[in-house]
């Protein structure tokens, strides 16, 4: 292919810029000093140990993980269900349906968080993980919906019709024909919603309470105080979990395929110019 050129240079610089803060955090976390600095002053891993030992951290991590898992499962199931339901409907109904369920995307997170807080407060509901779950579901379902919508649209409807003529029940068809077909979408949806929930700060902060604090909320609380390296360690753990989820998702379902440009020529695939 053509040499890297100006476009390539700019692209890699941008990529570097994007990765920079994360790299910095992880690098700085490996320090044995008492203060935060980048580049890190002395190499050590004691802050990781310290973080692991802290009950606040462990509780928050557990809560974040439980919440994220619950959110991803429920959001994906709901989204799959909604898309599956809408498939048989007229295009107009489909568009209305998708638009309705995508509403949260139009509302700033801050607003969702604030209004949820007021609703629960006025109802006298105690703060609990359940409220956070509802909030996270609202945040993530539109994304799950988009992904499942795209995944379902790539399904060949004739496959299900064929199964039908071969006499299977609807449930069976769904399980054995439909679901495997949207496997990539389901994986992507699970991964994305997990991460969106795991990462969320705003809703978690607004709806926080003692005992109901996610990991990002913990960091938030400590951020305006002077930085200490245990924050870095916690952050590094968050980064590690996030990256792990992304890599697993990519491995399980070739998500990169979802973004392959349609019309672009793949120069290494010879002879790509030949008319089929």
């Amino acid at each position: 292919m053509r040499p890297v050129g100006a476009l390539g240079v700019v692209s890699w610089v941008v990529a570097f810029f994007v990765a920079l803060p994360l790299v910095v955090v992880v690098a700085a976390a490996f320090t044995s000093a008492n203060y935060v600095a980048f580049p890190p002053v002395a190499f050590g891993t004691r802050w990781f140990g310290q973080a692991l030992a802290s009950p606040e951290f462990r509780e928050a991590l557990a809560l974040s993980l439980e919440l994220a898992v619950a959110t991803s499962l429920i959001a994906t199931i709901l989204a799959t269900g909604v898309v599956w339901c809408l498939r048989g409907a007229s295009p107009r109904t489909q568009r209305t349906g998708v638009a309705f369920f995508s509403l949260p995307l139009m509302v700033p997170v801050v607003l969702i968080a604030l209004s949820s807080l007021q609703l629960w407060a006025s109802l006298g509901a105690p703060r609990s993980m359940a409220l956070l779950l509802v909030g996270h579901l609202i945040l993530t379902t539109p994304f799950a919906l988009r992904i499942m919508n795209a995944a379902f649209s790539m399904l060949d409807p004739t496959l299900e019709m064929a199964a039908h003529t071969l006499g299977t029940t609807q449930w069976r068809t769904f399980l054995r024909i439909t679901l495997p077909g949207v496997k990539a979408g389901i994986t992507g949806s699970l991964a994305l919603t997990f991460l969106l929930s795991f990462d969320d700060v705003v809703v978690a902060v607004f709806l926080a309470a003692p005992g109901v604090r996610t990991l990002p909320a913990v960091i938030f609380n400590h951020l305006d105080q002077s930085l200490s390296p245990d924050l870095l360690a916690i952050s590094a753990v968050i980064i590690a979990i996030s990256v792990a989820v992304i890599l697993v998702a990519l491995r399980v379902a070739d998500i990169g395929m979802l973004y392959k440009p349609v019309g672009a020529r793949d120069a290494l695939r010879a002879p790509a110019l030949e008319t089929p």
């Binding site: 290494l268 110019l273 030949e274 008319t275």
Partner: protein
């Protein structure tokens, strides 16, 4: 169906004639294109004379489109040179070559009107604004799309889109015109009429043109000369007539026309011809490739080779001595209106023939076919 199918034909009296397009000579020397381990195009030498229309004919994957793209400058050859009017163009970028291309998909810019599409090329060459109207009118006249200048490509029919693509390519007076599978998007009936129209149009405009196609009928109608390609190489270059009647290889023989293949054994060979034993009978055949007696051969028999068909046992007609004789059992006959098709089973081979005279045979009849030796060509078994 396609109202515009006569449109190109009517360009006869139109404004654009030889003087308006640059007419150039193209020379390809040793063009090779490799993609890693695969070779798409191998050592191609070709000269296209000014004003000539050449067809690159071959099956998919033979490298014809790659070759076209090399001429256009969109693909760089790994080795070899491209010369236009004697000037070395191999390293010249596509946007400075002034080669017009009509893509298989037409590649019309969807966000520009027909008018803007046509003006695109001249604008890149700095056409003054005052000339816009004249150029557009001229081109629209040439392709007979007058009045459609303000439409968008999506609002046009397939045939109209093709004419816009043609006009757009010609608007900047290119040195060559390259067309990639111009008829692949059309259905059979339209294809036939468009073939004739395009052939006529190209002659009127007079530009040097190269047409890529996998359809031999396209080539036969449009091209002055045909380049048959296979697996990246040129198999044979010549007029369609030459290639049809004197194919140099089994591939070319099979690709053009409709043929049957029968196994045989070579008896003798002399001067491009020979005697081959086929199915127990001694045949006179053309044999472009030298071979030794006893060599196993494949004999190509054109569908149109049938001269007489007589039921075994009845008296043969005259001229029997000069024909190649084939015994077999009738598998099927089909009345195609102006022609009759006959399927003959002889040993393991099912051969198909066509004739315009009526046949008085039925399925199951044992018959003797008399075939025209000029339509039988033998090649060595590989």
């Amino acid at each position: 169906m396609e109202r515009g199918s006569r449109a190109l034909d009517a360009a006869a009296g139109s404004l654009v004639g030889r003087s308006s397009v640059a007419v150039s000579k193209l020379e390809l020397r040793g063009i090779t294109r490799e993609y890693g381990a695969t070779t798409a195009v191998r050592d191609i030498d070709l000269t296209v004379a000014a004003g000539e229309v050449v067809a690159l004919l071959g099956p998919s994957g033979c490298g014809k489109t790659t070759l076209l793209m090399i001429v256009a400058g969109l693909v760089q050859p790994t080795r070899g040179e491209v010369l236009i009017d004697g000037v070395l163009m191999t390293r010249v970028a596509a946007n400075r070559r002034r080669v017009g291309v009509v893509f298989q998909s037409y590649a019309l810019f969807p966000h520009l009107t027909v008018r803007e599409n046509i003006l695109f090329g001249p604008q890149n060459e700095g056409l003054p604004r005052s000339e816009y109207g004249r150029v557009v009118d001229e081109v629209l006249q040439m392709v007979r799309l007058g009045g459609l200048g303000e439409r968008y490509p999506t609002q046009l029919s397939g045939g109209q889109q093709q004419r816009v693509a043609l006009g757009r390519a010609l608007a900047m007076k290119p040195k060559l015109l390259l067309l990639d599978e111009p008829f692949s998007n059309l259905d059979a009936k339209v294809r036939e009429s468009m073939r004739v129209e395009l052939a006529h149009f190209l002659r009127q405009v007079g530009t040097t043109a190269i047409v890529v196609t996998h359809d031999q009928e396209d080539a036969s109608h449009i091209a002055d000369r045909v380049v048959v390609m296979s697996a990246g190489r040129t198999e044979q270059i010549g007029t369609y007539r030459d290639l049809y009647h004197r194919p140099a290889s089994a591939f070319v023989a099979d690709f053009l026309g409709h043929s049957n293949w029968m196994p045989g054994v070579l008896n003798s060979h002399a001067d491009g011809g020979g005697r081959v034993t086929v199915n127990g009978e001694l045949w006179t055949v053309a044999a472009p490739t030298v071979a030794a007696p006893g060599q196993a051969m494949r004999v190509m028999v054109r569908r149109g080779a049938l001269r007489h068909c007589v039921v075994t046992g009845t008296q043969p007609r005259g001229e029997a001595d000069t024909h190649n004789v084939l015994h077999g059992i009738v598998e099927k006959t089909v009345d195609l209106g102006s022609r009759t098709a006959l399927w003959l089973r002889c040993d393991d081979v099912l051969a198909a023939f066509e004739t315009s005279s009526p046949l008085a045979v039925r399925r199951g009849d044992k018959v003797i076919l008399h075939l025209d030796p000029a339509a039988c060509i033998a090649f060595p078994q590989p």
